[in-house]
């Protein structure tokens, strides 16, 4: 989403505000309309979902047509709200089905994707997402170090907040007259050189 480092306050405040807003709408409106508001998702949501499922768009088709643009862009949910632990662990936390259901138990039930999600939840089956950002083998990448250093998520993951369907947004840097594609070693190193951080082999390879 934003190119600024994600601040801890925003991590909590935004989703809380968002939740209160939606919840407040539901409570504040007459009952009949509240139900319909809960049932009827916005056209933007349907549109985002359609685009996320579009097989002609770049990127693999995912088991659920999840739109990052809708969640991270329109609704401004911070990355770490769902991808918890990314600031503490080597691994990026892919949200559990329970995290999705935390919101979608309440709304979005008319969306095809949420219906699929509820099936996973009822069957207690994990969602097998197709991996998009895959580092080469033998790299021990540490998410937490990069988050702590203030590297924005979109530096490596692209403008996720604008993508309905996720794909590896290409990027190429030129290193010693050779092109280094995104998520390849030369690409990592350009950034490490620019920021004067460790380029010791053992930092990533062991």
């Amino acid at each position: 989403m934003s190119s600024l480092p994600v601040l801890p306050v925003r991590r909590v405040a935004l989703p809380a505000a968002l939740f209160l807003l939606l919840f407040g709408l539901v409570l504040g409106l007459p009952e009949g309309r509240a139900v319909s508001a809960q049932q009827k998702s916005s056209d933007a949501a349907f549109e985002a979902q359609r685009r996320a499922a579009d097989p002609s768009a770049p990127g693999p088709v995912q088991p659920i047509p999840f739109s990052h643009a809708l969640h991270a862009g329109t609704y401004q949910i911070p990355c770490l709200y769902c991808h918890t632990g990314t600031d503490r662990s080597r691994m990026a936390g892919v949200p559990s089905v329970e995290v999705c259901m935390g919101c979608h138990a309440q709304f979005g039930g008319d969306l095809e994707g949420v219906k699929l999600l509820k099936q996973y939840w009822e069957n207690k089956k994990p969602i097998e997402w197709v991996q998009i950002h895959r580092l080469p083998e033998h790299v021990k990448f540490r998410h937490n170090r990069h988050i702590q250093a203030g590297v924005a998520c979109d530096t490596c993951h692209g403008p996720v907040e604008r993508l309905d369907k996720l794909y590896l947004v290409p990027d190429t840097k030129w290193v010693n007259l050779m092109n280094a594609d995104k998520l390849k070693m030369g690409w990592c190193l350009t950034c490490h050189w620019q920021n004067n951080v460790s380029v010791d082999c053992l930092t990533c390879h062991y």
Binding site: G93, W129, D200
Partner: protein, 1011 residues
């Protein structure tokens, strides 16, 4: 057709290979599979530790189980646990493999009409068991190891509730003789606990306390404490080993007295007499006439120890302020074991050790103890057809019972055998019904190795398969017999019963801590000698059979009673004494070998009173001429690794089971006797090479395993200590003339080998004086670093993949080969002990010979002083290995990890360490993954990594803390402080000027005890 020249051909091949590679590069689709419900405490990528208890031997060491994403990946010692205090032996380290073992039963199995075991459902299996019990519970009997106090009580109640005939606890190495000896001497029921930490003289009367016995890890630590050359004056405690064989324990002694096996009791009384003659004040009248007629000269003739030595030992005992004399362990327990143990404990008593260093715990809880006598009675009942259902758990009696007991024949008469074995073994393969138990890492349970120590087991993984806890299965079967039975059984399951048993204490706190530990051991403070002492019959062992030699069947420090043979690491980690892997061997003296005309690897036929064994010979100097020794534990016919199934020869025994050649003998109290038979040796003419990790014990006067006399240490201590350990003048051997005298020795500071702006220079200090050779570090390294198992054939080829090995050197060695002696000759000598166990791993050289020869920069020097190894760069030229003087680099000739690790063993791989592929070089990294893990909180908090935050796997495992790791740039770090020893410090192969980061501290030769 145009001629294709070589250059053109290579070009074409290159293009073809490139095209093939490009075609193979199409991205594999990988999936991200998150949790459905992520447990609150869990963050993927961050390890969670649980406290539990090791059940690999009765010592019950405390564990910290490191789990990642719900899977245990490494076992470490629990520092709070009073038994192990943070260390964990080799067997404990690899016991993690039980959970992921390919031989596990995944479901209950029932023997069908075709005679084969076939999977059945739990409902059906429990119904079958209940039906059998309904038909005649009076014919049912339980047989098994000690499942812990709580489970024991449940089993006892179960036996009473269903009306079964009884329960027998079976532990092959249980030393009932010790308990009997205490009863004879002092009239109390107690199993002695030896505390070596405060001793100043340790006499081991054939006790291999570092390998077997009540608590090997604890005793190693205590002895190291007592012999700490820095903390104690004059080198600390002296350790004398009296026994026929230079065992691993003996190799750590100051003096080895090769006494005649089985005469330890006679020797102990003679030493006691000599001590009294030297002024030991002891109440002679209490002994009655026991010492009448005991004198050094007479004892000398019977024990093979000369009178002067006995008198010298006596004088040392009289002078000692704090003596510990240890009675023989299982290997030397003869048919006179109780009297022998009593004689040794009598020496302890006379020297005032009882209640000070030899503690007699006051036992309050009475759980059933191992009883060989009861077991033999059960075998008799089985023979006479009185046992209709036999339930076996935590034991493999088909393998570990001597044939003379008729156990196999008796088993054939049992119409229904039920096994609870989680991993298939010889006994379970004969069962009619297998009800697989959970492994210790999946179980609830407890253990109490001695009064005051209550240790807990908690599950660290959801059961991998649909197997169930034995206690729960028995309870369910019992309850299905009717309400009357159910009323007599405890309610709930193992988990709730355990919590009830701990009702008096904070269960959750105990779980976090690993148990509840009393501050001190409740002991019998004042014990008086009973009048029965006078009637003690201390005599020679009664040996069966014919022959010029006696057979010593000793417990193996790695295989135990054979239960660890199923774990591949215990097969591949070399035996600490002979360095043999994956096989059995018979140790015999050089003189015996010459007489028979056999060399190393020649197959000998051993004929005893009970049977014949064919086993390869291992001639060595460290054994008496009249003794041959075979380790217990091998000879399994069932098991992927334990038998030859892995090599495609299922059913074929790996090595020999020496128990098959032992007579069924018992000691005076009915306990099991192991040292019981004479043996005849015959050459078979066949020969088979051993797979050994070290072919010679001659270090050719190079400083690899160095030693220096105590006097040199004392002289050096007076001199001012240098701030940085410089290279000592010619090793640490005190300027002895040698061929290496002329080499260049440049004093160096390893700190300079790290980048100037780096706050770290990682380094290690290895105290050879503390290393016992136990190989816990080797096993820990295997598990931590995903090192593959290669198998016997590959070990023969020299392709062992261990990053860390323990080299065993005998003295300084000789530079010139002795004419007529093979190079591989074992250089030990009878009655001499100068063994240097030297852990050898990558020395992280500052001027590493491996680095400049790598054509692709796969190995290089890192700013923190580490010798980095980048697997993905390596193209496998092996130049580095050829240029490494320490020979610590390992090459992946195959994808060993894929080929030799059948599923589900791959689940225990450490996710923090790369699994190396074929064609790649690898070596010790100083556990760089642990450095990286420790770096995270340090960087988050904007500080440096603190001392003690990085502990390498080897240092963590070490029971004697011989290995210290840390930052050399920090003068206050433990590792830097340990280096402040200008006299003992040396680097391996000093003359090569490789500037290693590992500093060794020389062994201290304390010499024989003075008279």
């Amino acid at each position: 057709m145009p001629e294709l020249d070589r250059r053109e051909f290579l070009k074409l091949v290159g293009v073809g290979a490139g095209a093939a590679a490009a075609a193979g590069c199409s991205e594999r689709v990988e999936h991200l599979i998150p949790y459905v419900v992520q447990p609150e405490v869990m963050t993927p990528g961050i390890a969670i530790y649980y406290a539990s208890t090791c059940r690999e031997c009765p010592a019950a060491c405390g564990l910290h189980v490191r789990t990642r994403e719900g899977r245990p990946v490494k076992l470490e010692g629990n520092p709070e646990h009073p038994v192990s205090k943070g260390s964990l032996c080799a067997r404990g380290q690899v016991s993690i493999g039980r959970t992921y073992h390919p031989d596990r039963y995944t479901t209950p199995m029932s023997r069908g009409a075709d005679g084969k075991l076939a999977p059945v459902s739990w409902e059906e299996a429990i119904r079958t068991l209940a039906d059998k019990l309904r038909q005649g519970a009076a014919g049912a009997a339980l047989l098994g190891g000690d499942p812990g106090p709580t489970a024991s009580q449940v089993l006892d109640r179960w036996v009473a509730a269903v009306g079964a005939s009884g329960r027998v606890v079976y532990e092959p190495f249980a030393q009932e003789s010790l308990r009997e000896a205490v009863k004879t001497l002092f009239g109390v029921e107690s199993e002695p606990v030896f505390d070596l930490s405060q001793a100043d003289l340790v006499l081991s009367f054939g006790s291999d306390f570092m390998e077997t016995g009540p608590s090997p890890n604890e005793h190693m630590r205590q002895l190291a404490e007592a012999r700490d050359v820095r903390a104690k004056e004059h080198g600390g405690a002296r350790f004398v080993y009296l026994g026929p064989r230079l065992s691993m324990t003996a190799s750590n002694a100051d003096e080895w007295i090769p006494s005649k096996p089985g005469t330890e009791g006679i020797l102990a009384l003679a030493v006691l007499r000599a001590a009294m003659d030297s002024g030991l004040t002891a109440d002679r009248t209490a002994l009655g006439g026991l010492l009448d007629g005991v004198d050094a000269a007479r004892a000398a003739a019977r024990t093979g120890v000369d009178a002067k030595t006995i008198q010298r030992l006596g004088a040392a005992v009289a002078r000692a302020k704090s003596l510990v004399a240890l009675p023989p362990t299982a290997g030397l327990s003869s048919r006179r074991a109780s009297a022998t143990a009593a004689a040794v404990l009598l020496l302890d008593h006379a020297a005032g050790a009882v209640a000070r260093t030899v503690l007699l715990p006051a036992e309050t809880e009475r759980t059933k103890r191992p009883s060989y006598h009861e077991l033999l009675a059960l075998v008799d009942a089985m023979k006479s057809g009185k046992v209709s259902v036999l339930l076996v758990h935590d034991a493999n009696p088909v393998h570990s019972m001597p044939p003379g007991t008729g156990f196999r024949e008796a088993l054939a008469k049992v119409p229904f055998l039920v096994s609870f074995a989680p991993i298939k073994d010889e006994t379970s393969e004969q069962a009619h019904l297998v009800l697989p138990d959970l492994t210790p890492l999946e179980s609830w349970g407890d253990a109490s190795p001695r009064p005051g120590v209550r240790s807990l087991l908690q599950p660290t993984i959801r059961p991998l398969y649909g197997t169930r806890a034995m206690v729960d299965v028995l309870l369910e079967a019992g309850r299905s017999l009717g309400d009357e039975v159910a009323a007599k059984l405890p309610p709930g399951n193992m988990r709730s019963i355990l919590e009830t048993a701990w009702a008096g204490e904070d269960f959750r706190k105990a779980l976090a801590r690993g148990g509840s530990f009393a501050a001190s051991l409740p002991t019998h403070e004042h014990v008086a000698l009973s009048s029965a002492v006078a009637k003690l019959e201390v005599s020679e062992p009664l040996l069966e059979g014919e022959g010029d030699y006696v057979l010593l069947a000793h417990p193996s420090p790695l295989l135990g009673d054979g239960r660890s043979a199923a774990l591949p690491w215990m097969q591949e980690v070399p035996d600490p004494v002979t360095k043999v892997t994956w096989n059995s061997w018979v140790e015999l003296s050089h003189a015996t070998a010459r007489r028979l005309g056999v060399e190393i690897g020649d197959v000998l036929a051993l004929k005893t009173a009970a049977g014949t064994l064919e086993v390869q010979a291992f001639p060595r100097g460290g054994i008496r001429d009249d003794v041959v020794a075979v380790a217990v534990g091998q000879g399994h016919t069932v098991g992927w690794y334990a038998s030859h199934e892995m090599e495609g020869r299922p059913g074929e025994a790996r090595g020999v089971n020496v128990i098959a050649a032992l007579p069924a003998a018992v000691d005076e109290a009915g306990g099991r006797a192991w040292f019981t038979t004479k043996v005849q040796l015959a050459k078979t003419g066949r020969s088979e090479p051993f797979a050994v990790s070290q072919t010679q014990d001659n270090q050719r006067d190079r400083s690899i395993g160095a030693a220096l006399p105590l006097a040199a240490l004392a002289a050096g201590a007076a001199a001012p200590a240098e701030a940085v350990p410089a290279a000592p003048e010619h090793g640490a051997r005190g300027g002895e003339e040698s061929a290496y005298q002329e080499e260049i020795h440049v004093p160096f500071d390893p700190v300079l080998d790290a980048a100037q702006n780096s706050p770290y220079r990682w380094g290690m200090t290895i105290d050879v004086d503390r290393c016992t050779g136990c190989s816990a570090c080797v096993a820990a390294c295997y598990i931590e670093n995903n090192s593959p198992i290669v198998g016997e054939d590959q070990v023969r080829w020299g392709r062992l993949m261990a990053w860390l090995r323990i080299e065993r050197w005998v003295g300084d060695g000789v530079v010139e080969d002795i004419p007529g002696w093979p190079r591989e000759r074992n250089h030990e000598e009878l009655g001499k002990v100068d063994i240097r166990h030297t852990p050898m791993m990558c020395q992280q050289c500052g001027a590493a010979p491996c680095e400049p020869v790598c054509p692709v920069f796969a190995t290089y020097h890192n700013p923190e002083g580490l010798n980095g190894m980048v697997y993905n760069r390596c193209i496998g030229t092996r130049y580095c290995s050829n240029n490494c003087p320490y020979k610590v680099r390992r090459f992946n000739w195959y994808d060993f990890s894929l080929e030799n690790w059948p599923k589900p063993l791959h689940l225990m791989l450490n996710p923090d360490v790369t699994v190396r592929a074929q064609g790649v070089m690898e070596k010790c990294t100083y556990c760089t993954q642990r450095i990286e893990i420790a770096r995270q909180p340090a960087k988050d908090q904007k500080r440096l990594i603190r001392d003690g935050e990085v502990i390498t796997a080897c240092a963590q495992a070490c029971p004697t803390q011989a290995i210290t790791f840390g930052n050399l740039k920090d003068p206050e770090s433990n590792v830097s402080k340990k280096r402040q020893e200008p006299v003992r410090g040396y680097v391996a192969l000093q003359g090569l000027n490789t500037r290693p980061a590992t500093l060794y501290l020389a062994k201290v030769v304390r010499g024989p005890v003075e008279g």
